[in-house]
């Protein structure tokens, strides 16, 4: 690991003033410390922001919920308002990582964690995300592609975003409050995470030195919501495909509102707008849900080895919406 100087910032402004090219913000460290040990990240200056950003959750008069970026994942999932009103988010967080890691990991850090693509994490391999212009080993013949993207990928990068929490926040339409050298701003989700196009080195739209300080949750969507994750083992594994879903059915039995976001399928949490639109106003039936899923997945471009993900995503949408409709 490269040697680095360390500073613990006491406020967002202090943290931002400490940022310089080559520096990194440190939250819970569950991803950054590992990447530093692997040589994937090599900051020469580490700015600890755990004392700089808010670590609490508060309810606004407007029915919104404000989550400080320093809130630990376990505290977010265990908050009474999240458990009661945002079950999709509580379930998403509880499906991520392990109890130990959830105790350490912050909300801001969860959003900014890097892909677990094995070629990104292996510094002996080409990777356009880690080293722009070096190539994409995952696109080479014989590569292990089983957990790569099926939607929105580019010739430069086929990696997936690893977060569960971010998938729920994408379905909920959360807003991310950011502090930076040029002042603060709000970034809407979806919209924080990028698709790779020619610049897979950029995971998000944040610019160097910008710091996530808070996540704002609008009032929860009407109806029922949940999060379901499919993985290679029962617990403590990244998603093959996951789904955050909310469904509201009118008295006439038709879909009044539908929110869908997929995880494990793209470089960013994937808001399934096409499926949402396709389901709207139709009877809340298996046929409708299947048509909606097909509408989203007709754009899927699986790599050799990821064909199963399109089927899995389709089945997940149908089965979760059926569950929510009962």
């Amino acid at each position: 690991m490269r040697a680095f100087s360390y500073v613990k910032a006491g406020s967002p402004a202090e943290a931002v003033s400490q940022y310089r090219p080559g520096a990194a913000y440190l939250g819970g460290g569950t991803n950054l410390v590992d990447l530093m040990r692997l040589g994937v990240a090599a900051p020469d200056h580490v700015v600890d922001v755990t004392g700089a950003v808010d670590g609490s959750i508060s309810e606004g008069d407007d029915g919104e919920l404000r989550v400080g970026a320093g809130v630990r994942n376990s505290d977010l999932a265990n908050h009474p308002v999240v458990r009661e009103r945002y079950p999709m988010l509580a379930r998403a967080v509880l499906n991520g990582a392990s109890g130990q890691i959830r105790n350490m990991a912050t909300v801001g850090g969860n959003l900014l964690q890097r892909t677990r693509c094995p070629y990104f994490q292996d510094v002996t391999m080409p990777c356009n995300k880690r080293q722009p212009g070096s190539g994409c080993q995952a696109a080479e013949p014989g590569a292990e592609t089983g957990n790569m993207a099926i939607l929105g990928h580019s010739p430069f990068c086929v990696a997936t975003h690893p977060s569960d929490m971010a998938v729920a926040l994408t379905a909920l339409g959360a807003r991310v409050r950011v502090a930076g050298p040029d002042g603060g701003r709000l970034v809407e989700m979806p919209g924080l995470h990028r698709l790779p196009d020619g610049r897979p080195d950029l995971d998000t739209v944040l610019t160097p030195g910008e710091l996530i300080t808070e996540v704002e949750l609008p009032p929860p969507p009407r109806g029922r919501s949940t999060y379901r994750k499919v993985r290679e083992r029962a617990s403590f594994a990244f998603a093959l495909v996951s789904l955050a879903a909310a469904l509201d059915i009118g008295k006439d039995g038709r879909v009044r509102d539908c929110r869908l976001a997929l995880g494990g399928v793209a470089h960013a949490p994937w808001r399934a707008h096409a499926a949402e639109r396709a389901a709207l106003s139709l009877p809340a039936s298996r046929e409708t849900f299947a048509r909606a899923a097909d509408e989203e997945l007709r754009n899927a471009r699986p790599l050799p080895g990821t064909e199963y993900k399109a089927t899995l995503a389709r089945n997940l949408i149908v089965s979760v919406l059926e569950e929510l409709s009962q």
Partner: protein, 177 residues
């Protein structure tokens, strides 16, 4: 703000098993390496050093955490409890007794992490990924324990008896075996 500009060494004080310990650390040093290499507390184990196996689990400010992913420099003032300090006094902690009674290990390498993780887990309220009703605090069934302990791997596969041992401590009187 604590600024030590252009220095890659820091002075930290951590409370380990109730004792304040002041040490100078390389900023790169993990809490795990601090415990093992500098303080001679080799109970916490280095399995993977990537947060994937849980052998390094300790309690930091009362909560279970992977000490391999925790930078010592970022834990100035933290209260750290390791397997060496789990029990009160000279006896065994109830979890340690239960692990012995229920034969909850073979080689023992993951055991300190399992013990600290279980101690932290038993103190955690709230739902898990397998809880049906998110608004209720569920009883600790074997299924709940399996899910909540999934951050601790056991290469010998002693999981069945680890769950029995934890069940015995979480529901005293009810012998699950």
């Amino acid at each position: 703000m604590l600024v030590m500009e252009n220095t890659e060494i820091s002075q930290v004080t951590v409370i380990v098993n109730g004792e304040p310990r002041a040490v100078e650390v390389d900023n790169r040093m993990s809490v795990l390496d601090l415990l093992r290499e500098r303080l001679g507390l080799t109970g916490s184990k280095k399995g993977c050093d990537h947060g994937q196996c849980g052998a390094c689990t300790v309690l930091i400010d009362g909560r279970r955490a992977n000490s391999c992913l925790a930078l010592a420099v970022a834990h100035d003032g933290a209260d750290i409890r390791t397997v060496e300090g789990l029990a009160d006094g000279a006896g065994l902690h109830p979890l340690q007794e239960a692990f012995v009674r229920h034969d909850a290990f073979q080689c023992g390498y993951c055991t300190p992490g399992q013990l600290c993780s279980a101690a932290g887990m038993l103190a955690e309220a709230g739902p898990s990924a397998v809880t049906e009703d998110l608004t209720a605090d569920p009883p600790l069934t074997p299924g709940e324990i399996h899910e909540r302990m999934s951050g601790n791997l056991c290469r010998c596969g002693a999981y069945v008896n680890i769950v029995k041992a934890i069940m015995a401590v979480s529901a005293p009187g009810g012998d699950p075996s």
